[in-house]
Amino acid sequence: MKSFAKSAITVVLDRLAEQTRTYVPMRDGVTSNFSPWSERRASDLALNSLNTTFSPKGIVFPQTERLYDFAVDGQRADISGTHAETGENILFGARACDRKAFAALDQVFLRRGYVDTNYKARRDGLTVIGRDCLQPGPFCFCDSMGVDPMGADGADVLLHETTEEFGWEPLTEKGQALTLRLNDLLTEKELIRPESAGCRLEVNVAGLPEKLRGMFDSPVWDELSTFCMNCGVCTYICPVCHCFDIQVMNNGSSGCRFRCWDSCMYPEYNLMAGGHNPREGKRDRFRNRFLHKLEFFQERYGSFGCSGCGRCLVTCPHSLNMVLVINRLGEVKVDAS
């Protein structure tokens, strides 16, 4: 298999970044995220960290995305172009959970009739270099959600990790193209691929979507949401959550229209024209989020709206999270009648 030594990582990243912006896991103070590689920030490279605090979804679905500008002059209105980014990008070191999340976003933005042009432009321009996940962390549960931490799904190239080396396995045409660019840096080597230690945390989701169909009015939602504060942490750090709003920035005679992340936890999100709010209380909003991920998403797309990345387990201010909710939902007895 083609491979490069881990010690040569900066040379490889430099080469990739020469032509294409290359997102790598980087420390950013107390947090981490996927940021464009530059030699200047080499000391922040966090290849040994498990996952990044913030998921890479912002690369294909930015938190704030300018759609078009407008200017008004008397009776005249000018719309000046769109801002959809069409450039090429590389995502280096995405683990299986985050790639699974991309697959979920693809379902939403590309596969069911309407194609979101901005998302498509970013997604088409992205080459994903995945990596093996040898040591899932204490809060990881991807394999319970149908993700193989060593799988190749959603990767254009898969990095096989050994102690000293990264094996380089191109899987798609995009992956082949990158291989050509790195050819002189890759050496042919026999690599023994270690096995993943697997996830220690498990949840049982068998039959859950079907069960949830009869649980809309269950009192368990009151119980589970008692200490939910309806902030948006879980939705914004989630790699799959994808709700957005379209807003206007108006500077008088000119401005722009932009898209920004929104959260189903916010009262404003559910507010309808005329002032009615169909999800008035926090129980209603909490229930909707989990039913969406565990029932509706599954019904519509055939997979869960959760990839088991574990981010919500460490960021919820009151320690509510997907695992706790799935476990509790599993315990509840539903009257078959």
Partner: protein, 303 residues
Amino acid sequence: MGDLTPEVQRIAGNLLSQGQVDLVLGWAKAPSNGQSVPACIRQAEQAGRLIFDQYCIHNLATGLLDHRDSSERIGIFVKGCDSRGIVRLAEDGQFPRERLYIVGICCPGMKDQAACDRAASGLFGETAGDSELAGKCRQCAHPNPVIYDELLGDQQPPFLNDVRFSDVQRIEAMGIGERGEFFSQIFSKCIRCYACRNICVACNCRQCIFDETRPQWVGRSTSAADNMMYHAFRAMHVAGRCVECGECERVCPAGLPLMLLNRKLIKDIDQLFGPYEAGLSLEEGARPPLSSYRVEDPDPFVR
């Protein structure tokens, strides 16, 4: 500190069985992972679930807002900072003291389970280790409850390892440009999840200005300007009312030092209108300095 869990369970059990309260807010162990989490119990038989340990860091006073429209009587366990939160709610007219049975706990300082989890998760850059006192407890001047019906534990000394307001003084020493750059950098990382607002006991407005759409006071984009606007608005809204519980900073997923602005305002208000510290005692008719007017209020800015 001895283990207060048996006392906590006994008191909660008695309050419920004697019908003194309808529900009790305290802490319990989460069944899934054994972490200390907020808990609400309504039956005396459930009192055995309650605990108190070094991870009971959450300020339960904010949870009272969910019950402000009911007439239920509530038993609540509070640490020093949480008790000031109760004064906050009572003073703001959000929750009547009469509906509460307050069990104060002299706080030995808490550890931050979430910070430990983040360190163990591999998801975060640099994080505090398990042995350390939680960040929010390291500048605590009032570990002992200021309002209670019953008190548990031994009186604790303040935890001021550093000189009070030393962090604020570092910012004050910066030039205006440097300071602007410093805060732009910090707030550029805000993801506008509003966790800091929602966990805040002083953010008790029924309709928050940041949720309003007509007019929309602050834009929804995560731009430097809108983020700065959000944080400046919020700091000014809680100025003179912030009880320094530090929950905003604890829950911030981006790890922003949100208490800096709050502490600067606490310091200024104390100097200009004080001596004043918010939520130290509940007095009939008392108002925070920025909610009242005195003829002798300083006004050097009027020319």
